[in-house]
Symmetry: C4
Subunit: 122 residues, 4 copies
């Protein structure tokens, strides 16, 4: 079973700046969830695209064999932090097929969540 794809793209990133409500459950965030259903560890290179400057990266992530891992985008700090409240996009390349989904919780106003599949590239 080839459980996913090796290349994924997300176009609509934007880390919400404000939060209201109990921490940490209601803290605003942008996150990606990566499922590696294979029997090999996945090494993933993330490139962050910006509105008005060259892409940053690679950011390096590992998701172990048969595990799922969720990464908050504001934890991507090496080689540089992803700025809050501005648009960004992600490009991911993994060494084995994985499934990537993006979720956002925005409690800056009255609280909302959204989720969407990232786009699997050829």
């Amino acid at each position: 079973m080839k459980a996913g794809r090796r290349r994924w793209l997300i176009a609509c990133g934007n880390i919400p700046v404000e939060s209201t409500g109990r921490e940490p459950e209601l803290t605003s965030h942008d996150a990606i969830s990566i499922l590696n259903a294979s029997d090999e560890d996945a090494d993933i290179e993330v490139t962050v695209h910006h509105v008005d400057r060259e892409p940053a990266g690679p950011y390096r992530l590992r998701v172990r064999a048969r595990r799922v891992r969720r990464i908050r985008i504001n934890d991507l700090i090496d080689p540089q932090a992803v700025p809050l409240g501005v648009d960004y996009a992600l490009r991911m390349e993994a060494t084995v097929p994985v499934v990537v989904q993006a979720t956002r919780q925005d409690t800056s106003g009255r609280g909302a969540i959204m989720g969407g599949m990232a786009f699997p590239s050829e």
Copy 2:
């Protein structure tokens, strides 16, 4: 008409712990909806992937021919309950093509819903 796929993956599972508002309509939940538009019953094996331990399962579900069925993830208790409030992922294999969609209602804060297509694997 081949109405769907036999293999589906969901990366961003997390059963909300808290709820506010009238039960049962406003109880928080993570759920999957499975449409079996074929003329044969679908037997589905679900594997639950975790952050820090080996996958659990198989959980066995049946969706009868020409029916839709919604399953709350906290009803997946055999061989073991899916823990609340932690990240998990799902891998599903069906004996006939089906369509799987995931929905979440989170009323722990101010109430939100999200829905997303699961990823159909090759």
Copy 3:
């Protein structure tokens, strides 16, 4: 340009029963949006799948050439109304390629919207 697909499936239908707030903007609803970007009218047969009985339909819709049309599911009444507050699924077959998206507004609790692409079948 082949603008879409002829067959679409939605697994997670459920028409919210309650609404709060100004009508009609904040009335709860389940809806599908159909874009027919082609130069021919699209005739669409909708089959509604249920949890515990045989599918109902066909419901017949027309979306004219180069037009978009949004249909609230509770307007599907011929041959029979889709019941409120219970799970259902949709199968659609169009005479020309179209794009189908599903949206839900649920104001029964504190107000939420979700949207998701329907699944294009082979």
Copy 4:
């Protein structure tokens, strides 16, 4: 790496009319995010489909090489503004492969966001 597709469709557009809360963070909007991960600028022609009249356009957008750009639909004013509060659909053709995602923030009621992938056409 072919990072996306050249043709995208969105069926469920509708610019929310009302907003509540702090501007500009909580202003209602319909938007598209376009990632051009390639090394060439992308010129994109957008056609807007309506419920009851012929399509409008082309609207012309440029997304520079290796950049992401978010466009609020109410900024599409040439050749004509997209009307508020009515259903519309979008068809996009780009000169290089891109990834398009749609997001909506609706604070007319109690605040909600939704996001969904646009549909990549053949």
